[in-house]
Subunit: 328 residues, 2 copies
DNA sequence: TTGTATGCGTTATCAG
DNA sequence: CTGATAACGCATACAA
């Protein structure tokens, strides 16, 4: 047990009666004579030595930290993403430097710039700033947003998810569909949820309406929209696809308040796969994002030492799961 | 914009025509001649210089990282805690190094040891390992668990919360109370939730039962307990205090399945203050932990440079909030 | 193979 | 008040 002083390689070298270089080799698993190996190991054990990662980072110009930039952690989707990324990193002996932006453009950019002085080994970010610039030289992955040709974008298969939702609703008997969304007005991978939905509706010849509001809108505007379509206690739509589970949750609450029965009168499908308390029941019927795999893939991309040509965009398969707001 | 090479203080010094020391002073806001100040600032701007935090950490033997150790992020209480801690740190220009343990004793200890080589400025942890040893010399705060006299324990006022829950149920007309808990068998600040509950019941002369299971137990054991107390479609208790919102959520789901109406037949109060999607409606009536303040207090303690005597234990006030599982 | 010496980018100590 | 220089702990090129 070292209590006061800082144990360095020098101390270990002295204790083991070998040179600094030899200790370094042993620490880094570079072959040395068995004899020395043992002596150094013993000294390390005895003194309780451990490497100073900052000295190492300084020397190597590279650290074991990966910067993860997310809007927040109270949104359960982001929380789960952070959770999975952290585990995936830990499995490879990397640590997560987590930064929260609340989607503020300036903060997003500031944190990215910070990454340079942090000498992080990579960046995984989920941002909204359209003009975000990422320093070249640092491996980066963006979740759900295309940041340009240098940055691989990892996302769920939003298009297929949208299609899947529409098909499921139609298959469940719905004949008047609606798509609802509140989100960034900037182009985004998640826009494809709508595209897939529209495609499936069109293909099936089912009438539909899309209600897309941008970020600044509050849910009360959705309420107005829904209210305007409630006549004689009945909603004009019998199937709603919401761009997120949060939205689905809010729509569900509003409709229930207005005595419209879900899933009897109207079926609702969300997107994300959020569960109560992270691991309990689904909040609603939903298109489940493969969060764990998205995290693993992102981490692998960041940490793949080879500068081999990495794909521009990776879309992971989604799945429908019934969570009580659809008949099946 | 620097693209390829690494800009160091030396570069800035050369550009500004001053010495290294002067640049360092300017960077660290140590007064220098106006003239030099300006020249250095200009050079910094021009070259896009930023400090290398590892070199700084190495030299200062201290970094701007704070290690945060939590079981996971899918539990919304932990997620919110991490969220608040991260913001509180960011407000003081510190970064969060987040590590997840899933309550594994060994991993908890391993991460704590890691903190030494990380030269972190502090540790905020929520752990379960009864034998956890924290290196002296690193400011540390433990959430909800007493780790010994050196480590300040920050928690909500669990005792008052327990009392509050019992009083509220009684005030709402309940006459047969139950306390339910699944948790660590090791002594823990959260045990006081029961103590306060018991005290309030005793004081009021209201009969009560405590069902306390330890970690290894699954919810099905609680189901068995509840089932055993359902007779002719009625539950023996008309008020239940659950040690966590998660438990309250599970109990609520089970009772609802068994056609016992909440809050009409039985009222339920949880503990934590978890909201759907982090910021929507409460999951249940609950004793709300002041998570934001707990985070802020923890961060302040960690970062208070003075080694002044810090209190052994800090308990922050809680509040009752109705979330639909109580009459009022 | 192993040991020695140098430099990574800072801050801090001294002379000037 | 400023400039040169020595550490901080490590990895590595080079010498032995």
């Amino acid at each position: 047990m070292n209590e006061n002083r800082k144990i360095t390689m020098k101390d270990v070298a002295r204790e083991a009666g070998v040179s600094l270089g030899t200790v370094s080799k042993v620490i880094n698993n570079i072959p040395v004579q068995q004899e020395y190996q043992l002596r150094v190991d013993a000294a390390v054990e005895k003194l309780g030595y451990h490497v100073n990662r900052y000295a190492k980072a300084l020397r190597m110009n590279k650290s074991s930290f990966v910067q993860v930039i997310l809007p927040n952690l109270h949104n359960p989707f982001f929380a789960k993403l952070a959770d999975c990324i952290c585990r995936a990193l830990a499995a490879r002996s990397y640590e997560m430097l987590l930064m929260l932006t609340e989607s503020d453009y300036d903060r997003e950019q500031a944190y990215i710039y910070l990454s340079e002085e942090q000498m992080v080994s990579g960046i995984i970010c989920l941002t909204y700033n359209p003009d975000l610039v990422i320093p070249s030289g640092i491996p980066a992955v963006s979740i759900d947003r295309n940041l340009g040709p240098d940055i691989t974008c990892v996302s769920s298969d939003n298009y297929a998810g949208g299609e899947m939702a529409a098909k499921k609703l139609i298959e469940n008997g719905c004949r008047h569909l609606a798509f609802i969304r509140i989100g960034s007005s900037l182009p985004n991978e998640t826009d494809k949820r709508k595209d897939g939905f529209v495609r499936a509706c069109t293909d099936a010849g089912i009438p539909f309406h899309c209600e897309c509001l941008n970020d600044s809108a509050s849910f009360s505007e959705i309420e107005s929209f829904l209210s305007a379509h409630i006549q004689h206690g009945k909603l004009d739509y019998d199937g709603i696809f919401c761009a997120t589970d949060l939205l689905a949750y809010q729509v569900l609450a509003f409709l229930t308040e207005n005595r419209i029965r879900v899933p009897k009168d109207v079926q609702i499908i969300g997107y994300d796969g959020v569960r109560h308390f992270g691991d309990q029941k689904l909040v609603c019927s939903t298109i489940v994002q493969p969060v764990e795999e998205m995290a693993r893939v992102s981490v692998n991309l960041i940490l793949s030492d080879s500068s081999q040509r990495i794909p521009y965009s990776i879309q992971l398969p989604v799945q429908f799961a019934s969570g009580g707001t659809t008949l099946f």
